[in-house]
Symmetry: C2
Subunit: 500 residues, 2 copies
């Protein structure tokens, strides 16, 4: 979830001031309503060191009635706590109905900092995750709203902040050896955090990533996220005055994680480069295909992207040198009558590849969290649940030994218009463009937001999303091919190593 | 869940005939209603070999419209299936809306038969359980009713049946070496099945144990269980004509698993035996208490039982020789105002013992599935969910290294009456008896049923229930003490072994 986040987001002073004022007032109101409705609320602050948890907690509570919340700092466990299982100290701090408990670090320490800091300690990692999921599920089933915030900054930003703290006499105690170690080994610490987020991002207790380079931006996003979650809970309970005025767009959605906005679409290739690279990669892929078959490795390749983003062209270049007995392209249209009366994943399960085969999906199960979400073809609960369901399906394939890659073919709005017009003018391509394409185009912003959320919630270590810069078709096709080739080579190497 | 089941249950011919007729007719009706309501249904038959899965499936489907269901036998996987992850073959067979899919063995094979038959194969057991839980959760969230039946027979009964099959030319092919091995090593195979049931008994897809010694009894119980689950699903959807006539007691509850009915209450001790054993056990316990402290082992002892069952007396004998700094007795009354605004497990979490200490609970968290269930203090969804929640809490303690034991102090109705009267006549004991006790007594049958279900669903390998034959107070107190002493000795031995 983390690596794709655009951390450069900033707030300008005016927006900041205005948002903090309106959202702060709304949050105060919502807190009172939650109290009246007897809803317990838990807010968890986790994140990278020096991302600003303390500052942000402080800003958030300015909007709250102090009689209604408690803040708990999770330091090293005291003697009482060490003598009990790790969830005990959090269970006894769970808020009463109508109260808010804010945690500065939390039950996640065991699978995050502790895991990194004390690698020698025997930790039943799977067991700890199970315990955490049960804990949150039990509380959520009982009506508790659980809001989990992950404050994220880059390695460089963190270094800068540590240095600043270290250099001043008054604050140098706040940075210790372990902090510096986590900065030096940022990449491996990031991976531990990725895993944590993947394993515990659930419908009942989802994570929100807070881009924390700019403190004002982070504060705005936190404030609106908390307010929105409370409004949603009140709405579900059917008791809110505030949330009854249903908004077109929930405020927090204005602060969604950007992935697409950070993509550099100017990347391109000349025709000569393209031909050369394409040829070389296709030949490598051809050989790899034989090895896949021999080693019985299944491969799942999903293609999504803007209309006219170039999915078809990329798939064509990918398959042109492959033995047709070894792969299958599955186009995904609207579900037919048989498919409609089954679980939405059923038709994709039907087309999962055999060991040694490649299954290519031209549009995929991600329709659930894009078109179905936006057009209202499924309920809000259904698409919110889908992120976890999809991760579970992909994880099942990956655990079986499959390579799972998902491509988002990205172009900008101007490029799409150019391509649409070209299609309309070209008799051979007219069939590719429909009125629906133009209608979808009008919903570009809604889609961008849904896609951003999808990329963040479902890009996993075992089934990553690859955003393909698609304004240049040459560049895009080569990037897709190269990514597939490299992923297959890595997997084949791994499998061979295991066999020896 | 299995070891406590009373397998001797039998049906008489008249009841059998009558139940099969009325329940069969009801099931046919419910099938049509489920079809109209678009509810998909999955029925899983698992169990011990030769428990009669084939026969029972055949009897069940007599009541169904053959156009509305399919039966799938799970044999060894074919080539197509071997080349895909294990859930694939079941995903593609999930029923369409309104249809019933019946599985003769199922996705449980991997954690049950396969695990036993092929111990050398590397199996990611935790992963497989996770995949199974996700699979069932995803389908259930989508509206599928999942009914899981476990057909249970004893080692002796199984041996008899295998022998009979083996002796006849026409059927000897049905018993192979592996079957005999599973019979010879019945106990260890049983343990694998226990674990499977513990790990996968959820609110959304609960197991029902079918006592299958008597085939007619089993058939009746299966028929009513399936009918009840469909009626419940229709009721939740608010679409049923049949289930609208809300019954006082769902039919399947008449066939609940019996544990208490099989208990031999004639067990007793003479006063001389009692004194001698008590003295010896208390001295052993005293010594063990010191070792617990030294080795930092926490101990959780829960006491439940009929009113006047002798909980107080047993706890008194247990603690009389213990160092009061090392244990705490927590009486559980109705929740107070603070406790009421928290999760029902919160107050018990607060009293969980420190490492090295003993926490004794006089009445426990099991109130949720007894008095709260029967008196309607919580919703049906809440107490149904509680079995899993309680198992999770106890498992968290056990994983931390705690000894967790739960005692049910059992007496019969006559003995209770005798004790109630004695209390009323004895001025020193009058405070112990209230009008509420007499009122609860009137609900004996409802309680017995709830207790039976509780004992089955929450007696786990890591936190077993011990049913204590309590008509003789002497016998009961000694049994409690002996059980605690032996469990502690075993745990201390285990911990010492790990340390060396």
């Amino acid at each position: 979830m983390l690596e794709k986040i655009d951390l450069a987001k900033k707030a300008d002073k005016d927006t900041f001031k205005q948002v903090m004022e309106t959202e702060g007032a709304r949050l105060g109101l919502l807190q009172r309503e939650c109290k009246a409705a007897g809803i317990p609320v838990m807010i968890v602050f986790e994140g990278m060191g020096a991302a600003g948890k303390g500052v942000q907690i402080n800003r958030l509570i300015q909007a709250l009635d102090p009689r209604g919340f408690s803040v708990f700092a999770t330091n090293s466990s005291n003697e009482e706590e060490q003598m009990r299982p790790f969830l005990w100290r959090y269970w006894i701090k769970t808020p009463a109905k109508g109260r808010i408990a804010i945690f500065d670090r939390s039950w996640y320490s065991i699978v995050q900092r502790d895991r990194f800091d004390r690698p020698d300690e025997k930790l039943d990692l799977e067991g700890a995750y199970q315990d955490i999921l049960s804990f949150e599920k039990q509380l959520s089933d009982d009506g508790t709203v659980i809001i989990k915030l992950f404050l994220h900054i880059s390695k460089e930003e963190q270094k800068k902040r540590f240095k600043k703290l270290d250099d001043s006499k008054g604050t140098s105690w706040r940075v210790n050896k372990q902090d510096w170690k986590r900065n030096k080994e940022y990449e491996s610490y990031l991976k531990i955090n990725e895993e944590m987020l993947e394993n515990t991002d659930t419908e009942y207790a989802p994570w929100t990533i807070i881009e924390s380079t700019d403190r004002d931006y982070a504060a705005m996003k936190i404030m609106t996220t908390v307010a929105d979650r409370l409004a949603y809970a009140l709405e579900k309970k059917g008791t809110s005055g505030v949330s009854k005025k249903k908004q077109e767009q929930a405020p927090a959605e204005r602060f969604h994680n950007g992935v697409l906005s950070g993509i550099d679409l100017s990347k391109s290739l000349t025709k000569a480069q393209y031909k050369k690279e394409l040829d070389e990669l296709q030949k490598r892929l051809e050989k790899l295909h034989n090895e896949l078959y021999r080693l019985r490795i299944p491969v799942v390749l999903g293609f999504e992207g803007w209309d006219a983003g170039g999915k078809g062209g990329a798939i064509k270049r990918l398959t042109s040198h492959l033995d047709p007995r070894g792969y299958q392209v599955n186009p995904t249209a609207s579900p037919n009558d048989i498919e409609k009366v089954h679980h939405y994943l059923w038709r994709f399960w039907n087309n999962m590849p055999k060991a040694g085969h490649i299954a290519i999906f031209d549009r995929t199960w991600y329709g659930r969290v894009m078109v179905e979400r936006i057009e209202g073809f499924c309920t809000e609960a259904e698409w919110k649940r889908a992120y976890q369901e999809i991760n579970e399906m992909e994880s099942h394939m990956a655990n079986y030994g499959a390579v799972v890659l998902k491509f988002w073919l990205h172009i900008d709005k101007d490029e799409q218009e150019r391509r649409f017009k070209e299609r309309m003018e070209n008799p051979a391509k007219q069939w590719k463009i429909t009125d629906e394409d133009w209608r979808n185009r009008e919903k570009w912003d809604l889609y961008e937001q849904a896609v951003d959320e999808m990329l963040v919630r479902t890009s996993t270590t075992y089934a990553p999303w690859i955003v393909v810069e698609g304004n240049s078709k040459y560049y895009a096709r080569v990037k897709v091919l190269r990514t597939v080739v490299e992923a297959l080579e890595a997997k084949i190497k791994e499998v061979k190593k295991q066999k020896n």
